[in-house]
Amino acid sequence: MAPRARIRWQSRQPSVIPGFGLALGVTLTWLTLIVLIPISGLLWRSSGLGWANFFALAFDERTVNALAISFGTAFVAAIVNLVFGVILAWVLVRYRFPGKRVIDAMVDLPFALPTAVAGIALTTLYAPNGWIGSLLEPLGIKIAFTPAGIVVALVFVGLPFVVRTVQPVMEEIDKEVEEAAATLGANRLQTITRVLLPGLLPAGLTGFALAFARGVGEYGSVIFIAGNLPYVSEIAPLLIVIRLEEFNYAAATAIATVMLFLSFLMLLVINTIQSWSRRRYSNGA
């Protein structure tokens, strides 16, 4: 075992950048303190439940619904963010207009604003008697207190991720590539769909994954706008809090474990796709 391990470590070529051991040590310690210990605590608690107990708690109908709502709305919100985030990044990179810097700074606001504030503000707007809600009400569209409201809140908190991951990649796109497409007879739409967007795919996927992960775990903004009806608009993080308030720690742990597992699985899949596409056409010209 030892020799094999050694070979793997040494497969890193002797490097001109010193401090690999130190840096890796700090990284591992840090990750352990911040991430690994809390998560293993969670797993340890849930392992105490026993399989039968765990499955009963985790696949309780209300829990399954809450998980479906959490992952479903986070997915939809991440898709929306992918589309509009790319457009927003495009505008910020490609055009010069007055107020560009202000808009650029505004993109980061969802990071800074307390999510509860965002949730309350969005609820006020989208409630049936709010500015936007009152316009949609006659059309029979309800946003606040439905899953649609959750999506709105998650779009808000996830916005910066796609913009900030796509923006730098977009800045590096060579103007010549577009010109090359044009000289070959491609019209504007073909240039965008066949040349530009595929090049943004890896960055877009990263942004999508981040926005999605953020959406799954989001709590503060959602609980105000969701209405929190069990089976309809109750998200999994809220259900965990409810179980905690009932002192039902076993159920809370079980839900948390399932969430952890699902999130990890989805992020793993996305990262795999992404590294595959990145490997294919990185550092090319």
Binding site: T183, L184, N187, Q190, R194, L201, G284, A285
Partner: protein, 368 residues
């Protein structure tokens, strides 16, 4: 296809990049646009391509006015200095791109597109690499993909912007020869931009020398080298020396003595004498240029000597066979230009004159 550029002017903001440029490019010709950076050569190329639109003037492709057409409609092939390949596409997809984006009624069948792309890859000697991505190719290979991609659309004219500029010397030389072969085989009308005079002279049928947004001279490589029409062309193409001289009664004087060259029809007054380092002969005695050898270096088959002719003049450079030069190192050398040219006035072309020498070389006066 024949390309005619008529009275093109191009300004970027207030800055004029091209001023009243006209140029005829014959069908099937390989033309080099040669000039230092900022001479407007790339701008001219991009105007022909339609990547820029002229401030004034017209460009004809054959008998058709192309200046109103978009770059997509002009059907040209353009090769960029930094390849500009689509890096998320395989080599094959890159080459087929131009055919794949055609509207359905003009698009060949998928199998036909594939066949044509593979044929082109064979032409550019990249068979077997069609499944690779650009990131997996060397610079020279990438540029060949770019050329195949440009030729796939069967362009009216093939335009290359410093195609070998990003490659190292060895690959450059190979690709240069190879481009000439491809051109001879396919017969595309081709225009390429370069700042490398050697590349232009070696590769092109005709060379267009540009400077400061205007065309200085158009001609075959021989014309350009042997009969430069302006001091700029003389100085830019190949090595040259220039000396401030004075004309007096048809004789050329350097400082306080005649140097044995005659320009009988020229009026008296100051002028500038141009000659190339290899166009000289060593002479004994006086009636010549003489000075001290201050430095010597061996370049390939010849020895280059730097000769100081006087304290007020910059040193001139002459080339000699190594065996003759060895005896003159760090000593006095006397020589006389065998082919030379005089320019009068403030950099303008006045009259050039080359004269028959006692050495028997036939040199006719060249008026311009």
């Amino acid at each position: 296809m024949e390309v005619r550029v008529q009275n093109i002017r191009k300004e970027f903001g207030r800055y004029p990049a091209l001023e009243d440029v006209s140029l005829d490019i014959r069908s099937g010709e390989l033309v080099a646009l040669l000039g230092p950076s900022g001479s407007g050569k790339t701008t001219l190329l991009r105007l022909i391509a339609g990547l820029e639109s002229p401030t004034e003037g017209t460009i004809f492709f054959g008998d058709e006015d192309a200046s109103k057409k978009s770059v997509q409609q002009r059907n040209i092939g353009f090769v960029f200095q930094h390849y500009a390949l689509f890096r998320h596409m395989t080599v094959l997809d890159n080459v087929s791109f131009g055919l794949n984006v055609r509207p359905a009624n003009r698009r060949p069948q998928a199998a036909e597109i594939r066949r044509r792309a593979l044929d082109l890859l064979e032409l550019v000697q990249l068979s077997g690499l069609e499944k690779r991505y650009p990131a997996q190719l060397s610079g020279g290979q990438r540029q060949r993909v770019a050329l195949a991609r440009a030729m796939a659309v069967e362009p009216n004219v093939l335009l290359l912007d410093e195609p070998f500029g990003a490659l190292d010397a060895q690959v450059r030389k190979e690709l240069r020869k190879w481009l000439r072969e491809i051109h001879d085989r396919t017969g595309h009308t081709t225009v390429f931009v370069t700042h490398d005079q050697e590349e232009a002279l070696e590769l092109a049928d005709r060379v267009v020398v540009m400077s400061k947004g205007a065309i200085e001279q158009v001609g075959t490589p021989d014309d350009i080298y042997d009969h430069p029409v302006s001091p700029f062309v003389y100085g830019f193409i190949g090595q040259s020396n220039c000396l401030d001289v004075t004309l007096s009664r048809g004789e050329i004087w350097f400082e306080d003595r005649p140097i044995g060259l005659r320009a009988a029809s020229e009026p008296d007054g100051p002028a500038t004498l141009y000659f190339r380092p290899h166009d000289i002969e060593l002479v004994d005695g006086c009636g010549c240029l003489a000075g001290l050898v201050t430095a010597g270096r061996r370049v390939a088959g010849t020895r280059h000597l730097e000769v100081s002719l006087g304290r007020t003049q910059p040193p001139v450079e002459i080339e000699l066979p190594p065996e003759r030069a060895s005896s003159t190192d760090h000593s006095r050398v006397a020589f006389r230009p065998t082919r030379w040219k005089l320019y009068r006035g403030a950099g303008d072309v006045a009259r050039g004159s080359v004269q028959a020498q006692s050495s028997g070389i036939e040199l006719a006066p060249t008026g311009t």
